[in-house]
């Protein structure tokens, strides 16, 4: 599904150049649930942003579902993002003046799907995350866990090839974190490929594979015994 070869990325900080990713080689197969771990500054978010086409690498190859991702202009990137990727952010990033259903329907709008169908689909995905009854509520009327579930529903609504989650539990308490992880595991059970960036050990162990990043290189890449979040909920 994802194929990365010798990925480099550095940032200009004034006169200094900060080499964030120093040759990453990495691949993800369909249906995997991968945790990318590392302390802050290890380059895990940068990696995710490059995977999400929100940022560009300096050198290296990136293939997503057989499509080579390079020389993207903004329009092309937007189309690929819409077609291939679903995003879940630490700070939820819901549009605050749209209801839960409208938020979930937004990527479908950019796919050119008609309004009626959009709303139907949005409600279906809200149902999946257990928030069918909250469809007409604004984000400000939802709890943090609910917001993140709406965000996950939104990411899933576009039926992406890969779901990218950047610290999805970073702003949530433990119980809510486990609820969200439970949801992510269930989505993964249906065969979806998911990448989770986290720095929390317990969250990482709820994935099926852990990739450790340190100072811009992969230190460790191991398959683990998945801990089901269900038992804590």
């Amino acid at each position: 599904m994802i194929e990365i070869k010798d990925l480099h990325k550095s940032y200009q900080m004034g006169s200094n150049s900060l080499h964030v990713l120093k040759g990453i080689n990495f691949s993800v197969k369909e249906g995997e649930l991968v945790a990318i771990m590392g302390s802050s500054g290890s380059g895990k978010s940068t990696l995710l942003n490059i995977l999400g086409m929100l940022d560009e690498s300096d050198s290296g190859d990136y293939t997503l579902d057989g499509v080579e991702i390079k020389n993207l202009n903004e329009t092309k990137a937007a189309k690929y993002r819409n077609k291939f990727l679903g995003f879940v952010f630490q700070s939820f990033n819901l549009i605050n003046y749209k209801t839960a259903a409208e938020n979930v329907a937004l990527p479908l709008y950019y796919q050119g799907i008609k309004r009626k169908e959009r709303i139907e689909k949005a409600l279906k995905y809200l149902e999946q995350v257990g928030l069918r009854d909250w469809a007409t509520h604004l984000p400000s009327e939802l709890s943090g866990g609910q917001k993140q579930r709406v965000a996950i529903a939104r990411a899933m609504a576009a039926e992406p090839k890969v779901l990218l989650a950047d610290e999805p539990t970073g702003a949530l308490d433990t119980t809510t974190s486990y609820e969200v992880m439970d949801l992510i595991q269930k989505i993964n059970d249906q065969g979806n490929t998911i990448l989770v960036v986290t720095h929390e050990e317990d969250i990482a162990h709820m994935c099926k594979r852990i990739v450790h990043l340190k100072d811009g290189v992969i230190m460790e890449d191991k398959v683990i015994e998945q801990v089901r979040a269900e038992q804590y909920v």
């Binding site: 942003n49 999400g52 929100l54 940022d55 903004e74 329009t75 937007a78 189309k79 993002r81 819409n82 077609k83 995003f87 952010f89 700070s91 990033n93 819901l94 549009i95 605050n96 003046y97 749209k98 409208e102 937004l106 990527p107 709008y109 950019y110 796919q111 008609k114 309004r115 939104r154 576009a158």
Partner: protein, 421 residues
């Protein structure tokens, strides 16, 4: 193009406008005010224009008076200060020499230029009224409105030297009872009986007449008052396309020739050029129109710039939202299109509100001033092409000004936009 007519696009725009009420309202006020000022000003200018036109509608606007004075230069053996006297025969000579003349009316009057007005008596009532000796053609130069049933002087009156008269409203009020019909009745003007054939409805038209004038046939007048061929002054109307200022000079030159005054004597004959005065007033109202156009458009531009300004701020405010939209697959084109459409849409809505308010204000002003006489302000309207022009300007400016925040919105990379909290 499909993007503009897509219902989905408008739903997005409606959503974003509706959810940012304060911003929307503030934005709209700027342009509304602009177009309101524009409509109000150009409507008022038009009202003034119409008002002047109404004030002057009963006078041939291309007309003038000419009268005799004293010479100020000796000429051909005549000494300085010789009084000039217009003669009835001058009429024909002037007409022959100046083909631009459309109508020319020799006029005499008693009671305007310092002499005693006619003593008019009816039964026990009496009064002094200025009395004009007129040809029917004077009606063509300065319209005399006659109340229903009556008539103005006609050619037969002149030919037969009839003792008939047309009286002003005030004369009727003072000599007749309220419910009395003056038509066919007799009044005594300087001891000679005249039959009333018409009552004039008076409208101020910038002449010597007022509402207490009496008009009798020129021929009758000259017989009663022993005028011979003397004429007090000529009222002259030129064809619409004639140069009235040039004609004024030509006529005076002709008169000087006929009456043997020095060709360069500026004081032998006096004249008043209504056409010139009218032209000045019309020029003033044209200037007002132009001014209102400039001020109005400048205000609209200021309003549209305010829209651009506020959209720019709002784009900054919505950086995060726009970042989310782009992460979810909005292309730069879609983001740009949405912001430009928001700008244009707001501009147009604001414009319509401004037009409605402007029209309403004009209607109120019209209602307040319509009853007043002597206030040159009638039917203030703004021509449709000007409104369409204003809307067009707003759409174009709205698009152009929308481009700035739109460009700004897409120049922020989605990754940076998402980091913005």
């Amino acid at each position: 193009m499909k993007f503009i007519f897509d219902r989905e696009t408008w739903q997005e725009i409606y959503g974003s406008i509706r959810k940012n009420k304060l911003r929307t309202v503030i934005t709209v006020i700027g342009v509304t005010w602009g177009i309101f000022v524009y409509i109000g000003l150009s409507g008022a200018a038009k009202g003034l224009d119409n008002g002047f036109e109404k004030e002057f509608k009963d006078i041939a606007t291309n007309s003038m008076f000419v009268w005799a004075q004293r010479t100020s230069m000796p000429y051909e053996g005549f000494k300085i200060g010789r009084p000039m006297q217009l003669k009835l025969g001058d009429k024909e000579a002037l007409e022959n020499q100046n083909p631009e003349i459309q109508f020319i009316a020799p006029r005499n009057v008693k009671g305007i230029f310092g002499d005693a007005p006619a003593q008019v008596v009816r039964g026990l009532k009496s009064g002094n009224y200025s009395t004009f000796g007129d040809f029917p053609v004077v009606d063509k130069i300065a319209k005399k409105k006659i109340f229903d049933g009556g008539r103005f002087l006609n050619d037969e009156d002149i030919e037969m030297e009839r003792k008939v008269c047309v009286i002003g409203e005030r004369v009727q009020k003072e000599l007749f009872e309220k419910d009395e019909n003056p038509l066919g009745q007799y009044i005594r003007i300087d001891n000679i009986y005249f039959q009333v054939v018409g009552v004039q409805k008076f409208e101020d038209g910038g002449g010597f007449e007022d509402d207490s004038a009496i008009y009798i046939p020129f021929t009758t007048y000259r017989k009663i008052y022993n005028m011979g061929d003397n004429v007090s002054w000529f009222a002259i109307a030129a064809y619409d396309d004639a140069d009235i200022v040039g004609l004024e000079k030509d006529i005076k030159q002709s008169l000087k020739r006929i009456h043997k005054a020095h060709p360069e004597d500026e004081r032998a004959f006096g004249s008043f050029n209504l056409g010139e005065a009218f032209g000045k007033i019309m020029g003033f109202s044209k200037g007002m129109n132009f001014l209102s156009l400039i001020v109005g458009i400048a205000t609209i531009i200021a309003g549209v710039i305010a829209i651009g300004n506020i959209l720019l701020i709002s784009v900054k405010e919505r950086t995060n939202e726009l970042g989310i939209r782009r992460a979810l697959g909005a292309t730069p084109r879609e983001v740009r299109g949405q912001i430009i459409l928001e700008s244009v849409f707001l501009t147009i809505i604001a414009g319509f509100i401004g037009i409605i308010f402007g029209a309403f204000t004009l209607a109120v002003i019209n209602a307040l001033t319509s009853g007043q006489d002597g206030f040159p302000y009638t039917n203030p309207t703004v021509p449709i092409p000007m409104i369409i022009g204003a809307l067009l300007i707003m759409v174009i400016l709205g698009t152009l000004i929308g481009l700035i925040p739109a460009q700004r919105a897409v120049s922020i990379r989605p990754i940076d936009a998402l980091r913005e909290e």
